[in-house]
């Protein structure tokens, strides 16, 4: 569990941690849009430097960020293979023969893959920084605040935020429950690591069925506890935690917008 980096909050006292979650979410969305613009390598270098500065200010070690890339390795290799097989444009880099079949790797295949990978890495970096510097509860509070104007078009802002908050709250509990069920099944002879595919599927079923049953029971009890404490999804409530924008949040949003403008210029003007 400790190896899971993506989404894990690191409690530190830094200017990035102190930012308003709404400002962080909005800045992340603006930079994500900027990443999707075809601004070229110079643009991505610029975004990379900007994110790097944020990582340094947040006192997050780069090796921790690198660990967040690990789960994406398979996807990156898969992308490379697909591109090598499908892209047939650009300079020929390698041309060889496998079992009588001519096999060519073009420069554009590698270039396109690198382009996507860099975009992916920048996206992972920025979302990881957001989740590492923002408490899950602040994140959901930020989402609720940002969705509030959409209530006029019947977007259930509070319900969405409450669902996310409860899901985040129960992740450790469900992981603990999974471990407990796995150990109970192992003690009955179920092997989750070895065996044929059919045996592995049956082992997973023996884990999933009780886990679902326990989780549904948990959800029922939680709903009772919430109702007993006066919670009504459509009822009027006050908020214990209130968010207030500060000057540093305006600086962050200004920086994000500047990046977006620069990417638009690089992509469409220059």
């Amino acid at each position: 569990m400790d190896k899971i980096v993506f989404g894990k909050y690191i409690p530190l006292d830094t200017p990035i941690h102190a930012l308003d979650p709404r400002a962080k979410i909005l800045a992340m969305l603006v930079v994500l849009v900027a990443i999707f613009l075809p601004a070229g390598w110079l643009g991505y270098l610029f975004i990379g430097i900007a994110i790097g500065i944020v990582i340094i200010l947040a006192k997050i070690k780069f090796k921790v960020i690198l660990r967040a890339f690990k789960p994406m390795m398979f996807m990156m290799i898969f992308l490379l293979v697909i591109n090598i097989l499908s892209v047939k444009e650009g300079t020929v880099l390698v041309d060889f023969d496998i079992f009588g079949h001519d096999f060519t790797i073009y420069a554009d295949a590698i270039f396109d893959t690198l382009y996507i990978i860099v975009r992916l890495l920048l996206m992972i970096m920025i979302t990881t920084v957001l989740t590492m510097t923002t408490k899950p509860l602040d994140l959901t509070l930020g989402i609720e605040y940002l969705l509030t104007p959409f209530k006029v078009i019947h977007v259930p802002a509070h319900e969405i935020a409450m669902m996310i908050s409860i899901a985040l709250r129960f992740i450790p509990t469900i992981i603990e429950e999974t471990m407990r069920i796995m150990n109970a099944q192992k003690s009955r002879g179920v092997d989750f690591e070895e065996g044929k595919l059919s045996e592995k599927i049956s082992a997973i079923v023996s884990l999933i069925v009780p886990l679902f049953s326990v989780s549904l029971q948990r959800a029922d009890e939680l709903a009772n506890a919430m109702e007993a404490r006066g919670y009504a999804p459509d009822g009027k409530r006050t908020r214990y935690r209130r968010l207030k924008y500060a000057f540093r949040d305006i600086v962050l949003l200004g920086g994000a917008i500047a990046i977006l403008v620069m990417m638009i210029i690089l992509a469409f003007v220059i």
């Binding site: 985040l168 709250r169 509990t173 506890a225 009504a232 214990y240």
Partner: protein
């Protein structure tokens, strides 16, 4: 004056299988009442019906003179709080502070007043030092104390403990039991505790014994536990001091009823001296 009145309550989870078969009882204001019974006797169902979490098939429930119905449920819930069995499944927020605030938010308490209320009730249950802790860093007993603080913050006059100590270790059990006794003794709140714990029941003012969805017996602890045969017939245990009295009586030695080991030791010592 009765603060809780239950009249001829019927309830079924499944068709044709009645969990409650005409349950009636009343609970006095400021009293400490325990509901005893083996698994499936309908104890927890009663708690959920009183809290308005389940709807009875027939029968009536009055809380502080107000009949429980869809129209009155919101008002009635302000008068009672319920602490459930599993400490994990009632910890809603991501920190102790936020969890205590949850009920206050639902009752539209001014956010500026919340910190003082949270501090007061967290202090009352000995959790003031842990206000920023996450649930994963708390023991079962601590989580249960947070649940109690969250309920106390809403100022209910009745608190229901639905087997609130059954999933805790011995230390956690003792901590929660002490809070229950203090709430009754110092705060004079009405306590309704659904429990398997015979020793806890012995300390209550009244006991309601449930069996197969019916009230088997109601009364003061002495009246209930003196019926040792009846209790054993319905699968319930009796307190240690009552077992000793029973065993001595078989040998022809008569001693009065005692509630604690200390009282029993004193009685035995006086008998020996005499």
């Amino acid at each position: 004056m009765a603060i809780i009145e239950v009249k001829d309550l019927h309830f079924s989870y499944e068709e044709n299988i009645e969990a409650l078969k005409g349950v009636s009882f009343s609970i006095e204001k400021g009293s400490y009442t325990t509901i005893l019974g083996h698994n499936g006797s309908g104890k927890s169902t009663i708690a959920k019906l009183i809290a308005g979490l389940l709807e009875a098939k027939s029968g009536e429930i009055y809380i502080d003179g107000q009949k429980l119905s869809i129209d009155t449920i919101a008002d009635i819930r302000k008068k009672l709080g319920i602490v459930f069995q599993n400490p994990d499944n009632q910890f809603i927020a991501s920190s102790v502070r936020e969890d205590i605030a949850f009920g206050l938010e639902n009752y539209c308490v001014d956010p500026l007043k919340m910190d003082d209320i949270i501090d007061k009730y967290a202090g009352l249950v000995g959790m003031k030092e842990n206000l920023d802790k996450e649930p994963s860093n708390l023991s079962g007993g601590q989580k249960q104390r947070v649940a109690i603080a969250g309920i106390l913050a809403m100022h209910p006059s009745i608190i229901i403990f639905d087997e609130a100590t059954s999933m805790l270790d011995p230390t956690g059990k003792e901590e929660i039991k002490k809070i229950i006794y203090d709430l009754h003794g110092d705060d004079k709140r009405t306590i309704l505790s659904i429990t398997h714990d015979i020793e806890e029941a012995l300390k209550s003012d009244y006991i309601i014994v449930m069996n197969e969805g019916k009230v088997y017996k109601c009364g003061k602890p002495h009246e209930i536990f003196s019926d040792t045969k009846g209790l054993r017939d319905i699968g319930l245990d009796i307190p240690f001091t009552y077992k000793v009295k029973e065993a001595l009586e078989k040998e022809g030695i008569k001693i009065p009823y005692t509630d604690t080991i200390e009282e029993l030791a004193e009685v035995l010592w006086s008998n020996l001296k005499a």
